[in-house]
């Protein structure tokens, strides 16, 4: 037997092109069903785990699947925004704790997730390197983000403009990396975590000012003292793209906090009854918002995926038939080509069984190598199932029902307010300025402390 195996191995090593062809074909045949099955199982497990740990998600009516993927994985297109008012609406019911999410911007390909410290605790996140968020403009990196971008605490990360061609849009913000999160094996490894207020500043709702010193910096009728005590004029005042110790106090928001945008709200009811009551509040057909149970959405998704898997199974079967035919053809041709060596073995007293044994051993080795390769490749492919989720997130219409496919246009008031790159209104309105606290913003959630001292009208671009 050892001799036959040696002969088989030598044949495989000698006829490399044939071996490569066989291994490639058989690997593909094994890979397709294995990768499909494992990817789906892994995705199912992860999706269920993530979904079951997220009781309810509230967002603007539209794709349920899109909203779930957005709130759980921060992928796919951002849903239409809702407002802080919705957050307060839920809080006022006292049925659930809430976690606001604003996931709209990206930094070097990774989603910037604006939220509060509640999310940090809700997901059981912890800082592995560096410190927690210290002030406005700080960010924490997920473990994958840090390793892929090669960033460490103290480094800087610039947000991407929402639209490359919108020159009047908010200036990309230079974020300070204060820490790196401990790996969790979840989508949280692939996010840039910021305070909600920081993401509003990225969006242009809030901003700070820097004084540009120059020849025009002379006192005149329009100038007044800024928060640092410098004389500044409208002409030499610019909005800041970076929070520094010097300009921290100059950051402020315009408009009523009730209009500030969120993309989703995670709601954590304190009981099943509270959950039912909260869901009931969003059942009206006139209701522009929807509430979803991510577990239900994932179940629907898995049902649809099982149908896709069946299609893949058929394809795999077809591929297996083609491969068997190919292997048969290759073996037949190879036996013809190896007639001389087979004759030698026959002359030396070898039986047909022995020669068949050599061919079977060859095929067994090739199949074993192919299977091992297919397993490795399938494991690698299934480990990227989070990417698979994001691909699925981009095809919500595949999953959602007709009713849920209806995409409502968000009310005008939730459109994100914009400020010009230089906010001329700030000088006369400086008394309305909202001081940004330099203390750890995680120390409080969105609260009255962070709201403007008094409601102000949205300052429109001049």
């Amino acid at each position: 037997m050892a001799g036959i195996c040696l002969l088989a191995w030598r044949t495989i090593a000698y006829y490399r092109a044939r071996t490569f062809l066989l291994i490639a074909a058989i690997t593909l045949t094994f890979f397709l069903p294995l990768a499909t099955r494992w990817t789906i199982e892994r995705f199912e497990g992860r999706a269920n785990e993530r979904a079951s740990s997220t009781p309810l998600v509230i967002g603007v009516k539209g794709s349920r699947f899109g909203l779930a993927m957005h709130a759980l994985y921060f992928r796919g297109e951002s849903p239409e925004p809702l407002t802080q008012a919705q957050l307060r609406r839920i809080e006022e019911t006292e049925l659930a704790r809430t976690i606001p999410l604003l996931v709209r911007f990206r930094a070097r390909g990774f989603s910037i997730v604006g939220t509060t410290d509640a999310y940090f605790h809700f997901r059981g996140l912890s800082v592995q390197r560096g410190d927690n968020l210290q002030r406005l403009g700080d960010c924490l990196l997920g473990a994958t983000v840090a390793s892929r971008l090669g960033l460490a605490p103290g480094d800087r990360l610039v947000s991407e403009p929402e639209n490359m061609f919108d020159l009047s849009g908010p200036t990309p913000m230079n974020l300070r990396v204060t820490g790196v999160l401990r790996p969790t094996g979840s989508p949280d490894d692939e996010i840039v975590l910021c305070d909600l207020k920081t993401t509003w500043i990225i969006q242009g709702i809030g901003h700070g000012h820097s004084v540009k010193k120059g020849p025009t910096d002379t006192p005149d009728a329009h100038s007044e003292s800024n928060s640092h005590g410098h004389n500044a004029s409208r002409e030499n005042l610019t909005t800041s793209a970076e929070v520094t110790d010097e300009n921290l106090q100059s950051f402020h928001f315009h408009g009523s906090s009730d209009t500030f945008p969120l993309t989703a709200i995670i709601a954590i009811p304190d009981s099943a009854r509270s959950e039912a009551l909260l869901i009931g509040k969003y059942l009206s057909t006139d209701e522009p918002y929807q509430i979803i149970r991510p577990v239900d959405v994932v179940d629907e998704l898995m049902h649809s995926i099982s149908q896709i898997r069946r299609l893949f199974d058929w394809l795999a079967l077809l591929l297996a038939v083609v491969t068997i035919l190919l292997v048969g053809l290759v073996v037949m041709l190879s036996i013809r080509l190896r007639r001389a060596e087979i004759r030698t073995m026959t002359l030396l007293g070898s039986s047909r069984t022995t020669i068949a044994g050599i061919v079977v051993a060859e095929l067994s080795i090739v199949i074993a190598i192919s299977f091992a390769l297919a397993v490795i490749l399938a494991l690698a492919a299934s480990s990227g199932s989070d990417m698979f989720v994001s691909r699925l997130a981009s095809i919500p219409t595949l999953i959602t029902s007709t009713q849920h496919r209806q995409i409502n246009v968000a009310p005008a008031f939730v459109q994100p307010p914009r400020v010009p790159s230089v906010c001329l209104a700030c000088l006369p309105a400086s008394r309305q300025r909202i001081p940004c606290r330099s203390s750890n913003p995680w120390s409080d959630r969105w609260s009255i402390d962070w709201r403007p001292n008094r409601p102000t009208e949205f300052v429109r671009p001049h």
Partner: protein, 226 residues
């Protein structure tokens, strides 16, 4: 000894028939089989080794009558008792010299201890000047060296009978004499009965006896070759 009587063989569709009325070769005898091409010299070797089965007549190899054997038994007999050196060397290109020499054991399994067989292969290689070429492949050897590998492969099982078909046909005179010397040395050492088909009349003196198939036909009217 080898005893052939009333042997008849034809290839069916081919216009060829071999008849050997009587042929006896003693144990340890070295016999050259000569004759013009097409008489059936190589076919006779194949009949003696059990590769072909005669339509008529008997072949006795020692105590064994081959016609009473099944195919499997003939193969086993050939593997264990007969060493074959073919006109075309039939070396396997993807095996090393060592593996080519050990090929009968690789196919049939190791009946002896593997280390003993390895030692036999190495001593055979040393005796034939292949000691430093054991890891090479046949395509890296000269024709003479390839012939020596084929002889080592035939001798590795220490066969009782050595059937050799035109071993010097493609060699120059020097290489041919080396190969012949090697064959005779090996056959002598193991007291092997050797039958060699050859066209080379200059080497016939080395043999105990020469059997000319054409003369045999004239001397004995029962031998006909069409």
């Amino acid at each position: 000894m080898i005893q052939v009587s009333e042997l008849e063989f034809s290839y069916g569709s081919l216009d060829f028939q071999l008849r050997v009325p009587e042929l006896a070769i003693n144990r340890g005898e070295k016999v050259a089989i000569v004759g013009p091409s097409g008489l059936g010299k190589s076919t006779l070797l194949k009949l003696l080794s059990g590769i072909l089965v005669p339509q008529h007549g008997t072949i006795r190899m020692g105590e064994v009558e081959l016609e009473h054997f099944s195919d499997a038994a003939r193969r086993r007999f050939r593997a264990s008792k007969i060493g074959l050196v073919f006109q075309e060397l039939e070396l396997i290109e993807y095996l090393s010299v060592r593996e080519n020499i050990l090929l009968p054991y690789l196919i049939h399994g190791f009946s002896k201890k593997r280390t003993e067989i390895q030692v036999s292969a190495e001593s055979l290689a040393a005796a034939t000047g292949l000691a430093d070429k054991l890891t090479r492949r046949p395509d890296q050897l000269s024709q003479g060296e390839r012939q020596r590998v084929a002889i080592c492969r035939a001798m590795i099982t220490q066969p009782e009978y050595l059937l050799v078909d035109e071993p010097t046909g493609s060699l120059d005179s020097r290489a041919a004499s080396e190969v012949l010397k090697l064959l005779f040395d090996q056959a002598e050492r193991n007291k092997t009965t050797m039958l060699m088909v050859t066209h080379d009349s200059s080497i016939l003196d080395h043999f105990d006896r020469t059997v000319d198939l054409a003369e045999l036909q004239i001397a004995d009217t029962s031998l006909e070759v069409k």
